[in-house]
Symmetry: none
Subunit: 229 residues, 4 copies
Amino acid sequence: MAQKAANGATGSEALEDSIGSVAADPEPISEAKVPRTERGRRTLRKLLDASAIEFGEKGFHEASVSSITRRAGIALGSFYTYFDSKDALFRALVRDMSENVGTSARAAIADGMSALEIERAALTAFLDFASAHKEVYRIIDEAEFVDPASFRDHYETIAARIGQRLHAGSQGGEFRQDLGEVEAWAVMGMNVFVGLRYAIWASETDTLSHDDIAAQVNRLLERGATRRS
Amino acid sequence: MAQKAANGATGSEALEDSIGSVAADPEPISEAKVPRTERGRRTLRKLLDASAIEFGEKGFHEASVSSITRRAGIALGSFYTYFDSKDALFRALVRDMSENVGTSARAAIADGMSALEIERAALTAFLDFASAHKEVYRIIDEAEFVDPASFRDHYETIAARIGQRLHAGSQGGEFRQDLGEVEAWAVMGMNVFVGLRYAIWASETDTLSHDDIAAQVNRLLERGATRRS
Amino acid sequence: MAQKAANGATGSEALEDSIGSVAADPEPISEAKVPRTERGRRTLRKLLDASAIEFGEKGFHEASVSSITRRAGIALGSFYTYFDSKDALFRALVRDMSENVGTSARAAIADGMSALEIERAALTAFLDFASAHKEVYRIIDEAEFVDPASFRDHYETIAARIGQRLHAGSQGGEFRQDLGEVEAWAVMGMNVFVGLRYAIWASETDTLSHDDIAAQVNRLLERGATRRS
Amino acid sequence: MAQKAANGATGSEALEDSIGSVAADPEPISEAKVPRTERGRRTLRKLLDASAIEFGEKGFHEASVSSITRRAGIALGSFYTYFDSKDALFRALVRDMSENVGTSARAAIADGMSALEIERAALTAFLDFASAHKEVYRIIDEAEFVDPASFRDHYETIAARIGQRLHAGSQGGEFRQDLGEVEAWAVMGMNVFVGLRYAIWASETDTLSHDDIAAQVNRLLERGATRRS
DNA sequence: AATGAATGAGCCTTCATTCAT
DNA sequence: TATGAATGAAGGCTCATTCAT
């Protein structure tokens, strides 16, 4: 199963990881303050996990700082030991999650895959990840209204990566030469909406596996993006 | 220019129109109360126009009822003569806009077009509409958090329409026989994300016209969805 | 049945009657404006009936002018053709009802009754009236907070009447000579609370008739609570 | 003076007391949240005292949360640290006061009193209490419209207690055997209305002491209104 | 670091009353 | 007289953030 490819966490590990390098990082992604004690790190983790659930379930505005701290099992006031504001927490979450989505996709790509195989594997990994972390989808989407810069950055980054893959496919002779940014956004849109329908809104009556779905999208790509022999 | 195809309004005309036929409408889309005087109709219109702008610019949560009435030039309390709540207004707006987006796309389709030409025309119309009414895009997107049912309904309806077009294309021998729901969502995703990039986030340096962009997407569809001769 | 003694209306007839003499009345009880047309009189009546129900069911603050006019089947603005304010309507209602309660009690008193028989008949009549017009009870009670003067006046008037009856009973040699204001208020209290319990809060399991209850209270008056040696 | 018997407070002490034992209390009467700090307890007290005055003076609807917090000398928002709503505060107050009224009456009863003496002492205590805490009377009365269940419960509880006393008097051979619920409500009514007239509406010209008044009501109980032959 | 009380700006909504038709 | 839209003051409540312990 491609499930393995999906990072099994909400992204807080990565966020925590990045924290360690905040000082050295010229552009710190995380807005979390750095806990100095083990206890502090544990509290930060609880806060991140709780907020991912709360934001995912209720959305940014309905989730309150107090509901988050309540879920995390800490006192309201403690929140501000770790984040400057509710916005800052949300931004940290979005940016971290944004990174993670890409990570899981890239992890699915193995050496020796054809360009088409790569697209298929990436979509399957994305579907797996989205199924397992529906809140990530919701949170990133809501960033359009809470942290527009991150939202845009998220999709531009992904589009750029897809663009690179398409270009590589062209170089390898598998794809057409004239694939550019338009095609990259189109491919991303296919993936995102297929994910919306079959991962986020998956219904009980759906019978196709994530692999099957990716295969169907792949066929769309194949006969369209491939070069005529 | 395909601009002509796009409905040039924010949707308030349609909303107003539907009001006139509420009695006959088995499922009234609008949640607005029905004004009985000419003055009332004028006020309702002002309210709808002002709210579309406010919601578009600030988003649902940042836009306040008082900011909306201020922009509309009416008293705060008058708002509730027309809508039961801020939510009700938003829902009315979303549902109405949702209808309008489809309307403009369908208006772009002319008799005698091939299946591919239809897709291209629909996308061009969508890009035109989205360019002219960026707030519509934003408002419908935010419905994911404020009126999820409408949001989902919006995309499911569009997917269904695209599915019908693909099916018709298959019947006409132009498209493959095995196109289904997955392909419909993939096509919708291409259109939406290309719209996001080239209509909503259109940058000054972009040189491609909406038609050019639609043509590029069309080529992706053509070599993919078409039957091999 | 003593039911006959109870005025079968909410009091609006009496109010209307009094309207005719407003000009001549040095202290007009009703605050209603005087309609000049037959249509106007009908509208006023609808307003009074509707408000008695609304105030009785919801209380003064929960009943709104618009809920009253809606129930009356007239337009909101028309309200102010008949009353200067919501308070004025309430006051008119209270004062009129206050009069009616006394009327029904006095109607129950027949010539030739003994002093004790009079008390019993008055209580029975009150219980009948209260059962049939629970809203009257509630409205007069709420006057304590909306129109305190009327509330106090209501009970002082009744106490005075009871005082007169007690005095007459003394004169007739049936009652003690030393009955005064304290006893009058005590008797009123008995009646009101017995009414609260057995008319307003009457429960399905109560088996005593209003006459039976009045008889029991009568015995208390007759010989107190003590045992005869 | 029986004044001593009356609890000299508005009831907030009792409310506070009950808070301390909330955990053990199977049915917590108070709807107040439990403060965990000393400062919190002080604030709660200020809130309760201020609200008793405000509700007593202005009534429930005219008293605003902001007027209460202003009088209490705390910030508006702090109110909601202690009560979920204005209604909840009122209910807490009513229920607590309801308890207290009974307490003061029972405190007035001494061992060895005859049944009649008990009634007299109870009424005197009630008159004292009502004189000193007119706001309590008003607040409980207004509960008829704000918290009807408590209002009814209040009087049903008192009636039950009076019924027990009457029954005990019968058992002791002092009262008639046939005294029941009707007589209990009648006695309560006497007390309440005598209290209304001579405690709440006491006028400067009244010369009778609370004891004198209670004695007169006592005589009514002892031998009714009739003349001894 | 943690806690939880305190703060107050700000928001949605209600509704008595006025006004123009 | 009747109508119903318009008005705006007022109120309850929320919640991000600060503060004292």
